[in-house]
Amino acid sequence: MPRGHHDIGGTTRDAGPINRAEHQLEDWEIVADAVNQALGARGIKRTDELRRAREQMDSELYRSLSYYERWIASMESILIEKKILTHEEIDRKVAEIEKKWGEP
């Protein structure tokens, strides 16, 4: 059984120096964190489910996304799996929000 892309303790691919710079969380990251915790508090999803979704992600995608982007992708797949939301619904809502924001 090969190691999953999340299971990197002691592996040699990521051998470089540790970037100790920290960024101030952006609004979307704070929202992602809070929505995730709120879903947990309501018993709608469990930490283990979100983790499974992250572990099942495409490895290239997992590597390419930032931390909270991975959370959002996992949250979306769990909410779709539980039939709470659909992918198309989210697409439509994104388009609606972009319009509201005055996106080109």
Partner: protein, 219 residues
């Protein structure tokens, strides 16, 4: 550009806080997901605000309070190690959301260091959100096979006679490192001691700050 989280405002009430074109595909999706969950009454605005407020209120100052008390009160230290959650409650810190919470005491002979190799498990009620480097691929990979190298990068160099123990945190077990009390701090108050306890010293990648800035650390 980032928004000041202490302002506790979200985009729709106050105009969007960052240039739109900077928002990634997933960043846009969380706003859409939030709106849909609110429309469907899956969660409420209050739910979200409660979580934001709760997270803002948790910071390494909580951990520093615990450590400073443990340094000054041996009985409390014993309780903190024996039953960390109960000791947190004594200090008004709610750690009940943690499944299992373990306190690791550094000694002259042993230095503990905590990593989450799979993701970012971390005692949030005690230390707030994990730092970016804690979640990085390089830290997660190297903490296991090069812990001394990692410590060296952070400025900690335990002697060859000091054992380094690495603990892999999980969703079910989270850790707090109890750093060594710095030498020459016998006369300091608990409040002043707490100022020497940095977040990174409670993860174990560094020691607590020395009593006098620039003074030689004993290790």
């Amino acid at each position: 550009m980032s928004v000041d989280p202490s302002a506790k405002q979200t985009d729709e009430e106050h105009g969007h806080p960052h240039p739109r074109h900077e928002l990634s595909y997933h960043a846009k999706r969380i706003y859409a997901i939030r709106e849909l969950l609110l429309e469907k009454n899956v969660i409420t605005r209050e739910d979200i605000q409660t979580q934001i407020d709760y997270q803002e209120a948790r910071s390494p100052a909580n951990g520093a309070k615990l450590v400073a008390r443990a340094w000054t009160d041996p009985k409390f230290k014993a309780r903190l190690i024996a039953d960390p959650k109960a000791a947190c409650a004594e200090m008004g810190i709610d750690a009940t959301s943690l499944n299992e919470f373990v306190v690791l005491e550094n000694t002259e002979k042993v230095r503990h260091m905590v990593v989450c190799t799979l993701c970012s498990c971390y005692p949030r009620p005690i230390l707030g959100r994990p730092p970016d480097w804690y979640k990085s691929f390089n830290y997660r990979a190297r903490a296991v096979n090069d812990p001394r190298g990692v410590m060296r990068e952070f400025g900690l160099e335990p002697g060859p006679d000091v054992e380094v123990r690495v603990h892999d945190s999980t969703a079910d077990i989270r850790y707090l490192v109890l750093p060594l009390r710095p030498a020459g701090t016998e006369t300091l108050s608990e409040q002043d001691l707490a100022k020497l306890v940095t977040r990174d010293s409670m993860i174990g990648v560094v020691d607590a700050l020395p009593a006098v800035p620039g003074s030689k650390k004993t290790s």
